[in-house]
Amino acid sequence: MKKISFIILILSLSLAKPAFSQVTSTSARGIANLIVPLSITPVSGDLDFGEIILTGTPITESILPKDGKLFEIVGHPNRFVTVTFDKIELDNSQWVAIYGGNTGTLIFYPDVETDDGTKVYSGDSKRLIRNGLLGKLNLWVGGSINIAANQPQGDYRGLFVISVSY
């Protein structure tokens, strides 16, 4: 019995740190409440602004969320998830490396909505709507870029990342 207790003690100590980080969030729902793994996957659409001819005047181009990229969050029904994302920088460095010219950057400001058009801001908490045994939430991502009067030409690219957590 002493030997068993010793093994349990060792096991407890080795796993103590991760366990403590979860106590607050899990204890209210109970140990038996196994959570559906959370996922977010791209479903359709893209964030391609296409071809824009530089006119020498500053312009703002936008993609409406419903015309942009659709992500589907799947997780535990009725649980809240925190959605986080940030603006990103696009650059034309790959294009310039091939064709020459000047490098430039653009900032992509994301615009995120749910199915009903409710704006979603980074850090917002959203409930996963029950759909059978799963909880689901669609997020539509569009956004805008500001093109400067003297913006260098080229193909600009950047990676937009959206995260969700319980």
């Binding site: 407890s12 977010i40 696009l90 690219r157």
Partner: protein, 166 residues
């Protein structure tokens, strides 16, 4: 003993909850295209002085002796070139005895010299070759004018317009 197993179960389920943060991404793309310009490099479409001899005459100007233009735009894009024959009128007098200038247009790619010219029909496209991040194509315009025996003497002038578009 039950307490021990419960504790172990808690530790194991706690480990599952560590996988609560997931993300997805999308590439944001935009192609910024340099606007088109067409500029005169050199030359003119002056047919000079022609002596009326009472017979029909065909006046000819070779493209390399006419006007050279350069189209500036986005590398590897194609520009549509359009133009029309031009009417030349006696100065300060628009009458039925105008002269018709029939243009002959050629392109030499990014070669500033009249080497390996290719005919350019109105409405056809010209590829803009890359030159350190700028697309270029040189255009050469010559043409002919038919002078009838009935034409009046005097200075005839008209405007020839050539347009480029993506």
């Amino acid at each position: 003993m039950k307490l021990i197993f419960g504790f172990i179960l808690f530790l194991l389920t706690s480990a599952v909850f560590c996988q609560n943060n997931v993300n997805s991404s999308a590439t944001v793309k935009v192609k910024l295209v340099k606007s088109l310009k067409i500029k005169k490099v050199k030359g003119d479409l002056n047919f000079g002085e022609v002596i009326l001899n009472g017979t029909n005459q065909n006046l000819l100007k070779k493209p390399d002796e006419g006007i050279e233009f350069v189209i500036l735009g986005h590398p590897h894009k194609e520009a549509i070139v359009t133009y029309q024959p031009a009417l030349l009128f006696l100065e300060n007098q628009i009458d039925s005895k105008s002269l018709l200038f029939m243009p002959a247009v050629f392109e030499t790619g990014d070669n500033i010299d009249f080497t390996s010219p290719k005919s350019v029909k109105s409405g056809s496209t010209v590829a803009l070759e890359n030159n350190n991040g700028t697309g270029k194509a040189f255009i050469w315009v010559g043409g002919k004018i038919k002078v009838n025996s009935t034409h009046s003497e005097g200075d005839y002038k008209g405007t020839f317009t050539i347009s480029v578009a993506y």
